[in-house]
């Protein structure tokens, strides 16, 4: 139980610090720390495969790309184009939309947490075996799996189109 609170605390603290400070490089690093703590939680849930995939995909692959972009832009500090003293909900359009999304997220979290549900390790090692995960992914969740891959493909095509915009004209 002690380990759980350790990982949970690191995860929450790191996530808060991601948005609490202004240097984007540190934000990226704190997000990695948060992902690492999450992966620790997966290990405690007896799901080492998910834990390692969390590290490889999120903390490894995706965050390296984030870091890459931040480094290329070489922006040591976030640009603030608005008055910081004004309440987020009273700022220009996109800001207000972000504020609304944040409120929606809080409401959803409260709903999800009060709804309850089973916790603790899954029965008969359903998530610890790679074979089981693979079978579930390609049978029961095949539709979601395929839809996700099409979504990623669409994003890739979009990126290529945006990157080569000059030639399309």
């Amino acid at each position: 139980m002690g380990l759980f609170y350790l990982f949970a605390a690191v995860s929450v603290l790191a996530s808060l610090l991601v948005i609490a400070q202004r240097n984007p490089i540190y934000s990226v690093l704190l997000l990695i720390a948060s992902f690492g703590a999450l992966s620790g939680l997966y290990v405690l849930l007896d799901a080492p495969f998910v834990a390692v995939i969390q590290i490889i995909v999120y903390a490894g692959a995706i965050m390296v790309l984030f870091l890459f972009v931040v480094m290329l832009l070489n922006a040591p500090h976030e640009e603030t184009e608005y008055d910081e003293r004004v309440h987020p909900l009273l700022r220009p359009g996109p800001m207000r939309f972000g504020g609304l999304l944040a409120i929606a997220l809080v409401l959803e979290l409260v709903w999800a947490l009060t709804k309850g549900g089973e916790s603790g390790p899954f029965a008969n090692g359903a998530v610890s075996s790679v074979a089981t995960i693979g079978r579930l992914l390609f049978t029961e969740y095949a539709f979601a799996f395929e839809v996700t891959s099409v979504l990623i493909l669409a994003a890739m095509v979009g990126a290529v189109v945006l990157a080569r915009r000059e030639e399309w004209r």
């Binding site: 490089i25 903390a59 390296v64 480094m71």
Partner: protein
């Protein structure tokens, strides 16, 4: 927790692996310089100790007494953190690599222990994950130095590692299909014995393309020649560690050599049958393991002094247009083969 002989043995083993990894870096420095000298018809180090064998020791002492420098505009925290990340990841990756059969140390223990720091059932993926964490050391070193050369080196390195990690993973996946497990111990034990009593059942004979892809991507991942762009001295002074000196530079150096050892050890486990081999009984299998790892490490050094460095666009084109499609085809063919013939 009670202190049992097994626990003590495990702790001793862990310390032993740590010290041996440190030693391997020292030995590799010496071997690298001597082999380089041989290939280029020079003498190499010969003054310190017999045949210059104490040269690494002299190097370490020199590194320790150098002044620790930091550029004024550097990000102090990340500048200090980067070499630590590099070295830690290098050491951590070896923790899941098995290097010998189960042993009781000549009856010293009641029950056998595995010659491995931690037996994880997803060992292959753990190595992959730690390797992907190691990139941060180099990237952050490049950024935090606040120097053009370092930044370029760091950016190159991250682009290179991302590009080759894919092929690396695909090559791993095809071996996992043949071995039908994610545990390195299982994969090694799968390679015991021989076909027709002659040819050892090593996966390199089942997966020759996979082995080539793995070694190529492994060289790119460890930033070794001919893929040593992050520190291409003609263009980037020293790349990501341009601004580092003294022990923090030594940590990058150490990480590079330990990563080489780890990639060689993993390649030995995955493709060359680990500690299985003819003539030597299984309890002394680690001798075979050392021989194989040594051969692969020699190959690394040999490559460095034989091949010139590629151009950066050639490296990227090779990674994405040749190596990646090849590894995907290899994976598909392997999957079809496993489906048809059974694992």
């Amino acid at each position: 927790m009670t202190i049992t002989p097994i626990l003590v043995a495990q702790i001793v083993l862990t310390l032993f692996v740590f010290v041996m990894l440190l030693n391997s870096a020292a030995i590799m420095v010496y071997v690298e310089r001597k082999v380089a000298a041989l290939i280029q018809q020079r003498l190499g180090p010969y003054l310190v100790g017999p045949k210059g064998m104490l040269q690494p020791l002299a190097d370490v002492v020199k590194l320790m007494f150098k002044e620790e420098l930091r550029p004024k505009a550097a990000d102090a925290f990340l500048f200090a953190l980067a070499p630590i990340i590099s070295a830690t990841c290098a050491f951590a990756a070896f923790a899941v690599v098995p290097f010998g059969a189960e042993t009781t140390f000549f009856g010293l223990l009641n029950e056998p222990i595995k010659l491995q720091v931690a037996d994880v059932n997803v060992a292959v993926l753990v190595i992959f994950a730690i390797a992907s964490m190691g990139v941060y050391g180099i990237v952050l070193a490049g950024w935090s130095s606040n120097s053009k050369y370092s930044l370029l080196g760091g950016l190159r390195s991250s682009a290179q590692m991302i590009s080759y990690e894919l092929s690396y993973g695909m090559a791993l996946a095809s071996v996992l299909l043949v071995g039908n497990s994610l545990s390195l111990t299982d994969i090694v034990n799968h390679q015991a014995g021989a076909w027709w009593h002659v040819l050892p059942k090593w996966f390199v004979f089942v997966q020759p393309v996979g082995f080539l892809i793995f070694m190529t991507a492994g060289i790119a991942e460890t930033n070794r020649a001919p893929f040593d762009f992050p520190e291409a001295e003609q263009e980037l002074v020293a790349g990501y560690h341009t601004e580092y000196s003294s022990m923090s530079f030594a940590m990058f150096f150490l990480a590079e050599y330990i990563n080489m050892v780890t990639v060689s050890a993993v390649a030995t486990d995955l493709f060359l049958g680990g500690w299985h081999g003819p003539l030597i009984p299984e309890s002394f299998g680690w001798i075979w393991f050392l021989i194989k790892v040594g051969a692969l490490l020699f190959f690394y050094v040999w490559m460095r002094w034989t091949l010139p460095r590629y151009r950066y666009d050639q490296l990227m084109a090779f990674g994405w247009k040749i190596l990646l499609p090849l590894s995907v085809v290899n994976l598909l063919v392997t999957a079809a083969g496993v489906l048809y013939f059974g694992a």
